[in-house]
Amino acid sequence: MDTWIDAFKEAFPQVPLNPMGDMPAEGLIRLAPAAMGNLPGWEVTPTSPSVVPEVLRWMARNDVNWCTTLQAAVEGPCDVYLSGARLPRREPRLQPKSHLVTADTGMSLGDLERWLNNHELTLAPIEASACDITLHQAISGEAFVEACLGGEALRDRVAAIGGILGTGFPFRTRAVPRAATGPDFKYLFFGNHAMRGLMLDVTLRAVPRRLGSPDLWRWLRTTSATAAASLLRRLAQDDYPWIALHSFPTDDNLWEVRMAYNRNHPLAEPMMDVWEESSELALQSGPLTASGGEVALPAAEGPWQIWAVSHASLRKLLGRIDDDLQINVFKPQHDHVLLRLCLPGYTGDDADSRLEEYCNNLMARRLYPHQAMGEALGDQREVSWLHDLNI
C-alpha cells in the first residue's frame, strides 16, 4: 500500500483519488491494453484549475510521481495518473482583434472548434475522429495533432501556455507575437507528455471562418506523381495560398492535380466542412508522425492522403515526400496528389484566368528544377484545364 495515499486524502479531501481500475474507459485502456501492467495504481481527478497547483506542489514535496499521458505512464514509474481528459474546461476567453483564444486544456478540440465557429472563427480543419481529444492530449502528445490539423502541428498555432511545473510552481508564457526575450520556452512543453510540467491552459491563434464562400476547383493533369509533387513544391515556394493536397489515381496513367481556390476571399479557407465527415479521406496519421526523422509508411492498403494547411507545412510535407520518392513510396496504383488552392483577392473568371496564367508561365519558363517535372510539364499539351468541379 502506498504510504502517501492517506496523507493525500487528508490534505485534499475534496479531490477525488481513485484506484486506476475504477476510471471509465477514456481511451487509456482501450488504446493500450498491453501497457496496463505498467500503469500507475491511482488516478487523481482535478476538480478545478485552482487546486491543481496545490496538488502538484504537494506531490513534489512528497516525492509522488505523476503523469498525464499514456506514453508517460507506460514509461513510468508513476504513482498517480492525472487525467488530462479531466482537466478543467471553463468557457474559453477570446481576444477578438487578435483572434487569440485561451482555453483550458481539458477542453476537447471539437468543443473548442464549435465554440470558435460560434464566434466566426476556426482553429483548423479538424478530422472528425480527433474532435474528442483534449487540448492537453493534443499538445503534450503533439504528433497526433500534427495529423489532426492536416500536417500543421498544433504548436504552430500556440501563442502561449500556462500550467504547473513539476515542482508545483505555476508558469505562464506570454501571448505576444514573436518576442525576442530568450529561448521560446513553450517548446519545452510541446510533445513531451507532461514530463516537464502540466499545461492547464493554452492560447491559440484562430483564423476567421469565411462562411458562404464557395470554392472553385480545377484539375491539372501531369504524367507522374513526381511531377505533381514538384508542382506543389513550386507553388508553395512561390507562396501560393493553397490549402490542402490529396491524391487521386487516373486510369490512363496520368496524374491529376486538383486545384481549388476561394471565389470570395483571399484567406486560405480551412476545409473542415468538406472533409470532416469523410472517413475515406481521413489521414492515416501513423506514417507521418514517426519521431526521429525516419519515415515509416505502412504498406499501402489503399490511397493515403496528406493534408496541409499552410505554406510552411506544405514545405515540410514536400520535404518528407521527396525523401519518400527516393524509396518509391509513391505507388502509381494508389497515390495521387490533390492540391487545393486559394487565390487571393479575386473572384470567378478573374481568379481562374490568373491561376491558369500563373501555371502556364511557370511551365513556359521551365522553372521546375526537378527533371521529372520538366519532362511532365515541358510540353504544355500535356496539361489540360478541366471544368469546374463543385463538391
Binding site: G151, V176, P177, A179, G182, G345, Y358
Partner: protein
Amino acid sequence: MKDTAVLYEKLSGALPPDRITQRDADLFVYSRDCWPKTIMWTEDGRRPYNPDAVVFPRNAGEVASVVKACAELDVPVIPYGGGSGVCGGVVPVKGGVSIDLKAMKSLHGIDPVNLVAEVDAGIMGSHIEEKLNAAGFTLGHFPSSIMCSTVGGWLAARSAGQCSSRYGKIEDMVVGLEAVMADGRIVRIKPPLIHSGGVDWNAILVGSEGTLGIITKAWLKVRPQPEHQRFLGISFPSLEAGLDAMREVMQTGLKPAVIRLYDPLDTFINKLHGSPQDSSLSSLMLDQQALFSVLMDETAGAMKLKAMNRMLRRPGIINRLASRLPGAVSMVTIFEGCKPVADAAHDAAVEIFLRHKGELKGEEPARYWMKKRYAISFKQMGVFRSGSVVDTMEVSAPWEQVPQIYHAVRKNLTSLAYVMCHFSHAYHDGCALYFSFATAAAERDAMYDRYDKVWSTALSTVQENGGTLSHHHGVGLSKSGLMLAEQGSLLGVFGSLKQRMDEPGIMNPSKLGL
C-alpha cells in the same frame, strides 16, 4: 581573470598565436557593442568591462577547443559577431574570452529543391544575401544592420528583418543548427523538415544569446528572388484607421513583404524633412525618422547640435506640441513574389485600405523608403557627441494592446524624452511598435540617470499594458533586470536548463536575466 599569461598559454594550445590577441586596443573594441550606453561610455572614456582575450577561430572545431580551454580555467566565453547589437549582449561583464566568429563566413551550399542553405554563423548579413542572390535566391532577412551584423548574431537575438511580415523572423527560417556547448561538444540539430514529438532544440538555442552554446552554423530556409514587386504609399485619417487596415491585411492572409505605419508625429516630421520627389508624402518613409536623420547628420554644425541638445533637455515641450498635430498617418507597403500572386495580394490590400478610408499615394513613398532603408543606422555618433542620446525600443503586443501601449508609452515619457513611433513587423495576432526616442541632460551623470529612467519607464509601461520586452533586439544586458517580470517562474526553468547545459557556467554570463 587574473593571470592573462596563463590564459594566453592555454589558448595557444587551441589556436595559432596570430588568431589570439590581448592587445589593449583589441580588448577595447570587444568590450562593447552598439548599445547606446556603451557608446556613452566610449564618449566619456569609461571602460567598465573588458575581455581578457579575443580569439578568431575558423571552424567549429576551433571554437570547441577554445571553449574547452576556457572551461578548464573557469573563464567566461562570449560569442561575438558584428558587434551591432544594441542591448549589450556581448559586453564581457565578467571578463573572459570574446570569440569573434567572423572568420567562419562560408555559404556551404544551397539545396535548390527544398530551398535550404547551409551557412556559417560568422558570415555578414549583406554577404550571405549577395551570395544567395547570385544563385537566384534570397534569405528574405533585411535588418537595418544587415551590413554590420552576422547570421549568428541574428540567431542569438531572434532578429527580424524589414520584410518579416512575408518571410518571418530569423527563428522562422531555421531548419537546423550546429552549436558548440560548454563542455566543448559540437551538437547538430538537423531535424527533418516535418517535426513531431520531443523538444525542438532549435527553439531553445535560438534567442539564447550565447548563454547555452555558441551557434557555429545554421541551415536556413531560402526563397527564390522575387520576380515582381508592387509598391504603394497610403495616407490614413487616423492612427486607429491605419492600424485596423494593417490588421485586416494580415488577418486576411495576405503577406506583404513590407507594411509599415508611421504615427502622426513621425508622419509630420517626415513631411518637414521634405523630399525632392513629392513634398506631400514621398519623404515619409525613412527607416528611422527624419528628425533623427537631421540629428544624426554628421555634417551638422556644432551650433545646431548644441541647440538640439538644449531642446532635448525639455522634451515635454516638444511632446505637448506634437500631441496637437493633425492625426493623419502614413503607411508604405511592398508586395513581392511571383507576379500573379504579388499583384493579386496588392490589389486585395488596396481594397482593404480604401475600406478604411485610406488615400492612395502612388508608388513613390514606398520606393523612397526602399531606397533609404539602410541610410540611417550609421549616423548616430553626431548626436552622442553633442551630449544627447538617441535610442530605439522595439516591443510587440497583440492587436488589442497596441494602441494602449502606444499612448501609454508616449504619455509616460512626455517629460523624459522626445518620442515617436512606427508600427511594423505585422502578424496575424499583433505587431511590433518601434519607438525612437531622444533625450539630453545638462550634466553627464544626470544624462545616465535620465537614460536609465527613460528605459525603465518605457519598458515597465509596455509590460504593464500587455506587451513584451523585445521583438527583435533581444535582451542582452540592458533588459536583463526585467526578465523575471517577463518570464516569471520560467526564468527558474531557464536557470536549471543553463546549469545542465553549461555546467562550468562560462557561457556569456549575466545575460538574459541569468
